[in-house]
Subunit: 343 residues, 2 copies
DNA sequence: GGTGATATTGCAATCGATTGCAATAGCTGA
DNA sequence: TCAGCTATTGCAATCGATTGCAATATCACC
């Protein structure tokens, strides 16, 4: 409906209107101190009057900086659906805010897009100055590839201390230990673990689960570890099956995410099993909904604010020449009704 | 850690390696039929060998197309937090997938960023070829501004049929009518409405709520409409207050979103009020978690798949010269436990 | 053999902003 | 009055790819 196609003004138009050269106009607009104060103000005023905006493309081409960060959300190969995990979305939001606060644009893409080669697509093509990779399982060959290509990038995942690139993530092992110790303290004897240990982060949570059991003198039973996708549905289905097989013997569940935990809770309640009395339940993430299910969900809170900011800070650091450094974030157990057995 | 800073190759490098001019190389890579087949293949092979990627910035500058769409997520002015509403995130995911499927990049930004002027920032600066605006309340002056500036853009909201730009959205009024009629059919007499009617979409839902009541010969009571933000917390707090004031008289709640509904459910159960027996509850959106709370939530399902795809299709259409056209999407009532009173 | 048509390829301008270096003007001090 | 400085400003190249138009080569047909 554009009856007013308003040909966008260019720097050269502004320069002409102000009666100066393009170079002077450019410097004036960028507050280059070498320019006379009066000239600068005149140029800036004229630019403002005409709503002049620097052409970001031309600037990028000349300066060789896009001032854009690509954020890539990884998926499970099989769960080919769109972003669903509330936790990932939460951290995505924090990153978005932080990037804009730092004056960067954010290019978002789902893993499907760029199946082939992120470096080519985002970096070589100069679409982005750096990459943030979010998602389960950084055992991705594409990440390794980035690493060896000298591209600035950061991964949200499980820092091991030995990786060649920067990984920011929660102390999953410690978090799991907190959760499981808490369940044990509530009197649980047989605790199931719902989560897919092929993802490094979940593997760490499983290790923490084992740590806690061993510390209590309990030998972990491999059969109690059930691979479960990051959805309420998967949690629901797995719990139903687990109940079918081991009804009566389970008295605790540690779910690798809150979504999984909510699915599990549904399955339990549906079978008339009381939570937390018969089976106590703990999740992981502390998504917004966790406080509002019934019973409310005990969970391990990940600090998304700190995480998102750190990812951005670390990446921008690299872009400015700092070297990659991983970091582990502390977590906190949030005790709610799903695990607290009143005495 | 980049020990291998691999200076990226340019088109001119490829041309030299292939022994042709830059123009020929460019045309060969773009499969321009005017180029001899052998030449084309040779150039393409050399480009592939060297992992050459066209510099997107240079191409954009020359072609005057960014092949990028900016997606702007609006916030409530007061709720200055990051994206939280699960529904918005879901539709965002669909848009992301669809854009990449169409070969477009997606620039994501939260409203805070660009508080000033979207047209300037995204369009005049040539960062994006078009805009998608998502969020409650398109009564935003910035939207009006876009409209009069001839920028290709689409809004997710409440199509009224009279707006000057393209709005894609669900049939909120019809959805609400379905929901409330259902509550009435379940025997509810006094139904509260939780939602902020200052948002156009919610206003439509409120109108639908009134429609259903009037159709049943019930006069809507203004006191039963409670402005509520899009969060579980707000739903919880408002419901607590409502209960405090009108305990015993309410027998139904229609919440303007599932998150609100879940908060409301929590408040009800906490007070020992049974759902759906004493108070029946219906939400809106059908987010993933709705099926997994207890009791599971009856809700009005919005077709996010269709919505996202339509937004993209409509926008790309505009970019290619088609004219803006709004569209209303049908919704569906999903009956679950929170409202079904068994006889 | 000559002429016009057709198939390929290359030259050079262009997109819009940035910046190294040169140029000019104005001023100071001897 | 003039060399020497400083403060400003402008010229022109550059970033990398695309494309209108011209140039050349090739071929067919009379």
């Amino acid at each position: 409906m554009g009856i007013k196609p308003v040909k966008t003004l260019t720097l050269s138009d502004i320069a002409r209107l102000a009666g100066v050269s393009e170079s002077t106009a450019s410097r004036a607009l960028r507050d280059n101190p070498v320019i006379n104060a009066q000239t600068r103000e005149k140029v800036q005023q004229i630019a403002a009057e005409h709503q002049f905006k620097v052409n970001a493309t031309a600037r990028s081409l000349r300066t060789q900086k896009s001032h854009t960060i690509a954020v890539i959300i990884l998926f499970d190969a099989k769960t080919q659906q769109t972003i669903t995990d509330p936790f990932l979305l939460e951290i995505l939001g924090v990153i978005a805010d932080e990037l804009t606060r730092q004056g960067y644009d954010m290019l978002l893409s789902t893993s499907k897009t760029t199946d082939k080669d992120w470096r080519s697509y985002y970096f070589d093509s100069k679409r982005a100055d750096g990459l943030i990779v979010i998602g389960q399982g950084e055992h991705d060959e594409r990440v390794e590839q980035l690493s060896s290509a000298g591209v600035p990038f950061v991964v949200w995942g499980a820092p091991t201390g030995s990786e060649a690139f920067a990984v920011i993530g929660s102390d999953n092992r410690q978090g799991a230990t907190l959760a499981v110790s808490h369940l044990l303290a509530q009197g649980c004897k047989r605790i199931a673990f719902l989560g897919d240990i092929r993802h490094t982060e979940i593997e760490m949570r499983y290790l923490g689960y084992q740590d806690a059991l061993l510390a209590a003198g309990i030998k972990p039973e491999p059969l109690l570890q059930l691979n479960t996708d990051f959805t309420a549905q998967a949690g629901y289905v797995q719990t139903q099956q687990a109940l079918f097989k081991q009804l009566g013997s389970l008295d605790g569940i540690f779910a690798a995410s809150d979504a999984i935990a909510m699915g599990a809770m549904k399955a339990l309640l549906e079978q008339g099993i009381s939570v937390p009395q018969q089976v106590a339940l703990v999740g992981f993430d502390d998504i917004a909904m966790s406080a509002y299910c019934t019973p409310s969900l005990t969970t391990v809170k990940q600090d998304t604010q700190a995480g998102g900011k750190l990812l951005v800070a670390q990446l921008l650091g690299q872009i400015n020449g700092a070297k990659a450094a991983s970091q582990l974030l502390p977590v906190k157990l949030i005790e709610r009704q799903s695990s607290l057995r009143k005495e």
